[in-house]
């Protein structure tokens, strides 16, 4: 039976190096390019028509834009709207990385912990920078929930620091684990299908079909969760609780 972790293996296609840094091309980097190309193409095409009565693609793009905008307004308020392009890009990048990973033969970029970690840490660092820029030293209030009695502070502050550090970790691991787990299960079921042969193989194969639908849903949900948590963290930085 095939190793279910096999689809996550990477192989260098074109060795490249930049100032001593290894930037060799592999399946994951090429998938990222495809994601950029697909998202750019769709969004440019959606914006090109500018019809008063929207076309189908324009309608979907406007729905998405409206959805992200209301998400920002709910979590960050009006000040958050300047992060709108960033949040949209984040959502579309993660969503299409997840969805493209479901195409047979492609690579799920978001099943690489390092990829999700870069996104999560960047977003978290951004939220801290925004907080410091807006509130200066008062931003440290984020470690003391309002109404905490003074004698509890020695206990509360370490807990808050841990919870703050858990944010990027949870963000990164959640996406990575969901994507990896889904594909592992799919891989296992496909392995069973092949191992089972015609006699019993149809059962795991039927499961893969159902699970595939679930995975499409998870692709959307995980992109949404990552984006809305980003909004919440940025909102915390803007409003200090």
């Amino acid at each position: 039976m095939e190793n279910p972790l096999h689809p996550f293996e990477l192989h260098t296609y074109v060795p490249l190096s930049l100032l001593g840094l290894d930037i060799s091309l592999n399946k994951a980097t090429i998938t990222m390019w495809i994601v950029v190309a697909v998202v750019t193409g769709l969004m440019m095409q959606a914006g090109r028509t500018r019809a008063l009565v929207p076309t189908k693609l324009q309608n979907v793009a406007e729905l998405l834009v409206d959805f992200i905008r209301s998400m920002i307004l709910d979590t960050m308020g009006k000040e958050g709207l300047r992060f709108f392009p960033l949040i949209t890009t984040l959502f579309l990048f993660i969503l299409f990385c997840n969805l493209l990973g479901l195409v047979p033969g492609s690579y799920t970029v978001t099943s690489q912990l390092v990829v999700t970690a870069v996104l999560a840490i960047s977003v978290y660092v951004l939220s801290i920078l925004v907080g410091i820029k807006l509130h200066g030293i008062k931003f440290l209030q984020i470690l003391t929930p309002s109404g905490t009695p003074g004698w509890l502070l020695p206990l509360v502050i370490p807990i808050e620091i841990i919870s703050q550090l858990a944010r990027p970790l949870a963000l990164a691991v959640r996406l990575f684990a969901n994507m990896t787990a889904g594909h592992v299960i799919l891989g296992v079921l496909f392995g069973l299908t092949i191992a089972g042969g015609m006699l019993i193989g149809w059962l795991p194969f039927a499961f893969t079909i159902a699970l595939y639908g679930l995975e499409v849903g998870i692709a959307f949900i995980q992109a949404y969760i990552f984006t809305i948590l980003t909004c919440v963290y940025l909102g915390d930085a803007i409003h200090l609780h």
């Binding site: 972790l5 840094l21 091309l25 750019t40």
Partner: protein, 174 residues
């Protein structure tokens, strides 16, 4: 797990950052503005349409009120005109009645006068003719000439006799 193979970390991080940056730049610069713009335009358009519709509705209501008021005024005016016409007709009728009554009374009076006059005239004529006839008869009866004094006396007597017979005494003269 193959994901923890650090060999690929540098290229993955590099290309992720590059890809994400390119995507962010393209969306921010080229893709999102037209979508946002068309959303904005549609929002404005819808708001304008709703405002316009509201204005139209108010105007229509205003006009309806005006028309209803005009209709009521016209109704009142029509009633007034009908009442006036009725009054006039009534007055005209009464006037005509009065005039006709007066006219007929006048005609009656004139007729009575005329009849009276004609009667008197007839009486006068009869009286004259009777006098002549009396003279004639007297001459025949007497078959003689009489003196002028006799003539006169006889005529007078005959006249009185006639008057006594036909008149009512008023016409008798000495």
């Amino acid at each position: 797990m193959p994901q923890f193979d650090t060999h690929f970390f540098s290229s993955l991080i590099f290309w992720e950052v590059v890809s994400f940056a390119i995507l962010l730049w393209v969306l921010y610069k080229y893709a999102l503005p037209p979508i946002l713009e068309s959303l904005e335009i549609r929002e404005q358009k819808i708001r304008q349409s709703i405002e316009q519709a509201e204005q139209n509705r108010l105007a229509a209501e205003q006009r309806l009120k005006e028309y209803e008021a005009k209709l009521q005024a016209a109704g009142r005016e029509a009633e007034a005109i009908i009442a006036d016409a009725k009054n006039k007709a009534q007055r005209l009728l009464e006037e005509n009645e009065q005039r006709l009554r007066a006219e007929s009374e006048r005609i009656q009076a004139e007729t009575a006068q005329e009849i009276d006059r004609q009667r008197r005239k007839a009486l006068e004529e009869i009286r004259e003719q009777t006098a002549d006839l009396a003279i004639l008869v007297a001459e025949k009866v007497l078959e003689r000439s009489v003196t002028s004094d006799d003539h006169k006396r006889l005529a007078q007597e005959a006249l009185e006799a006639v008057a006594a017979t036909y008149g009512n005494g008023k016409t008798a003269r000495p």
